[in-house]
Symmetry: D2
Subunit: 324 residues, 4 copies
């Protein structure tokens, strides 16, 4: 395990950009099932019913789509400082910011592909107003059952030109472990799954075949069981949401998945990992070859071509043509 | 969070004593769905299909029932030494042992109620023989679908006279966090749920009302979904296994549970926690009052009286009479 | 099989009386998940999202609770007339009525305990308004996912002083088959489950121990899977609905059940029967003895005492005291 | 509804031909989860754990694959005679046979594409030997949990050159109702789903694009929930069974499906229909256009090309080439 691998506690939130803010918000609240915590400037702060923090999704009106920034919460103020020291030495620091509505000061930095990350410790815990108080006090909010009613933020997936560079970067910057990866025949890494805790992954990177950088692949919230994913498929179907692929089970990580595009085109997933956790402190990275990946998903579903090309903001048509 | 709270990685295994070794083994293999890894002396080593270690259950023929010892794996050799130092200072050390078939040297100690624990780092990873190799390489063993087909060890529950003493002890010895607890009106703790990682709990203690010590309440393996728990209920029913209570959902921790007695009388659980994890590094213990506990389980099922009295080895009839 | 046992096609609708019409309606629409079709006089007409008829529940404001009437649809106009002839000969006819908002003329009659039944053929098919049109044209209405989102009416349960008399009556009047029954040690029938089609039962009668007649036990809507029943339990919990018992599996008929009281006190069930059907034309009634019934439900849950006493309208306290 | 549409009670059994009898039997017993009832000549008689008859699958060693015959049970001896009279008038009768191990005399006839059908009433009810007796007396056999552990036979699908001719034939010969169908742009029927009872379908026919006749598409057994289908996918994956497509949900009929090839190449399905039934006696056929069918399955999965070409016995390569 990387040194101080416990400094970072968990994925905190993702800022998503949308050029259809009204439609995107309606999707996330009424179809996906998040709850609004607050608004500020061009952003709406959202969270799932068992997310303990003020927000886990910051939806920001923009002239484009994709990811604004990605935030992780550290295990302590000291751990935050240790990470800042490391990141400053790595030369990718942006610097301190005051923090969003949902947390205190945060330290920002770039990954090698240009995505913006931040680390913070001080957070604003969600306090349920009376109408949202759960019947059982160990839940953050009542189970409202609205839309897909996802339970908590799970992970995100970013695109990057050089996944190998990302692998080194994430281990160094966040102390992340690589739980699974795809080794292409050409020597490059096709994809890499990272975790800072016992989840099987909290972030994944897959290779971007476009000439763009800093692109976003998808963000995922977890539900309690596979039936919830199947139910979400019907919810999406009845609400006219574009279903890209699934429900099916990934060979890699074994996640039961369902991918849709929210109205602005950002890919969003509903997923369930069953009882799978990475508890082994000496877990050895599982490496999938290109041949193995070509077998498709766990039960044989071919991976849909758009999964390898569609990211946000969208690439040019010229680039997309190269994909198939 | 307690200092060095990441020294201990996870619950490793539980040694269970049985005075009906043949019947117990048949139950664990053919009905509960564990797989035998090996045998030595009076013990059979067992594991669930996605347990990565050689064994997670050591079933030992004995003249009585209950727990032999409980083992946790540390995050590193250094973490093991740090824990040993702490435990020796605490004055509850037993000392080093060579280790079972499934792992290297281990350091043993007592909890305040007399249960034997051990810590180890060196482990023997399970290597699936050809017939047990999984179709997907990120699983420890093929999903065989035999019996309840539980996936991995989850937690255990021990009885103790003084749960408050245990609360302090576990924080100090293992760096465990208390995720939930029951505060009785008489000022004592009725129960306490601990974790060393992101699982909601890996061990629980509840108050022993008998005059015995070192008793065992239950051990639990996780399945991927609640449907698996319901299916297990049918498997148990058809195999003549005594079902004590469930399936239902605990108010505390929200676990979907099913409790049965294996042939020798030890209580065994099949459970599912959904997507619930404790990711918050500043999680505040959830405290349930006696009044709240009296409401029963999540959906109103009264807690069965035997849940407060039945432990192994069994208490005397005189003591049991006090329970109701 | 009884002669002309195919004359009656299926349970059509149930009229439920409520002395808390506003609260009951809110429960049925927002928590249970029915959709309003229309209103007339003191009644609101409701249906589940895959019920093909205009209504399957008629909720009528009243000064008491219980059942107004129970309606079955016949297989054809000729079948309706055949049944009318039989029922007139039986001497329990009430006569023709014009029919509710949801169907044409209906023929009314009494069962031996005084419950009012009606038979009709002409029906008003539900036509989904644009906002309720399903994505798949073989569904009656879109899957809205609101509340427990039950799929279709399944069965009801009535109380009667003399279940044996009911057994003969239902075979004669409706051509119902008895799929399962409870034979008490005292020679009386404790309960009887009937069907006119391939469902395992569409109506059940259990013995009324009060001195009242014409009482109602519960009405049930079906969901697609047991996970839907578990999800409904959380929906009820979060909405403050009284959960009487469940989720659990009945030994009799194997139904996975969950019983709650709607705000006025009428018992309502959410249930799933899995893939179980009665396809055998020579099905022999399964008879459960009193001893077998005392074993409780399928996985050992004791039958809750109120299940044998609570009906609507409620019996007097004096009578209730006799129940335990 | 067709006259005397209740003469035929349900699909009884399917005879499947295999040129790999040992491998096919191992698949059906240990992977699919059927139980052997007996053997005679080149056939093994099999049934699912809740099938009430002696057998629902007759597996016959042969030099080819495909379907031997398809059997329906009538509602009574009189109904059998009525059907025989009709079929003899239709000119497609083969005549009486003594019946298999599992039932009495049967009347055989041909459908327009040359498939052999039979009707029978006298049946041999399955009597569970002690080791297979269920804990609950309303089940045919204990839930053994072996392999995919399918519950009961559900339906089959045959290929035919002229589906329109089949539509008329099934209504006339069996009194079947057409619940759903596919209307191609060229005026032909692409597929037709029939039922004789409240199931949504017990047989389907789809157009055979080869120059062969009497071919078989698939046979299906039902499980209790969609989780059982997902679990079956893992069972198939771990046992090296070829998964053709699924799990996913059909747009037509809404069935949650999973298709595999048993070792000899016959297509076999595991499916769940949820709580969907056709209770309406005046059900109007749902007609899907070619455009609608091109949308793929319910959640967007494209229909796999082999679904339109692979049947047993296999067509010649020349014919297969025309398919795409």
């Amino acid at each position: 395990m990387p040194e101080n691998c416990f400094d970072v506690a968990h994925l905190g939130h993702v800022e998503l950009l949308t050029d259809k803010p009204v439609e995107s918000l309606d999707f996330f609240v009424n179809v996906y099932g998040l709850t609004e915590s607050g608004r500020e400037d061009n952003s709406v702060y959202l969270r799932a019913w068992d997310d303990y923090e003020f927000h886990t999704l910051k939806l920001t009106a923009s002239k484009t789509t994709g990811v604004g920034h990605v935030a992780y919460r550290t295990a302590s103020p000291e751990a935050l400082q240790r990470r800042v020291d490391v990141i400053e030495r790595m030369g990718c620091a942006i610097g301190w910011v005051d923090g969003d509505m949902g947390h205190g000061k945060a330290f920002r930095f770039h990954d090698p592909d240009g995505h913006v990350f931040e680390l913070y410790y001080d957070t604003k815990r969600y306090v349920a107003p009376p109408a949202e108080r759960p019947a059982l006090k160990n839940l953050a909010q009542r189970y409202h059952g609205r839309g897909a009613a996802v339970r908590r933020i799970d992970h995100l997936n970013l695109l990057a030109k050089d996944v190998s560079a990302i692998r080194d970067f994430m281990a160094q910057a966040l102390g992340s472990r690589v739980t699974e990866q795809i080794q292409l025949d050409n020597g490059r890494l096709g994809g890499c799954w990272f975790t800072v805790n016992n989840k099987t992954y909290d972030i994944a990177y897959t290779e971007d075949h476009s000439d763009m950088s800093g692109r976003f692949h998808h963000v995922t919230y977890a539900v309690d069981c596979r039936e919830d994913v199947l139910r979400a498929a019907d919810i999406f179907l009845e609400n006219g949401v574009f279903i890209e692929t699934g429900p099916h089970k990934h060979a890699i990580q074994g996640t039961f998945f369902l991918y849709v595009y929210e109205p602005a085109g950002n890919r969003v997933e509903v997923a369930n990992a069953g009882a799978r956790l990475i508890l082994d402190p000496s877990w050895e990275t599982v490496t999938w070859t290109e041949t193995e990946r070509k077998k498709g998903q766990a039960w044989g579903l071919p991976t849909i071509p758009s999964f390898h090309s569609h990211g946000t903001p969208p690439a040019t048509a010229a680039v997309d043509k190269q994909e198939k």
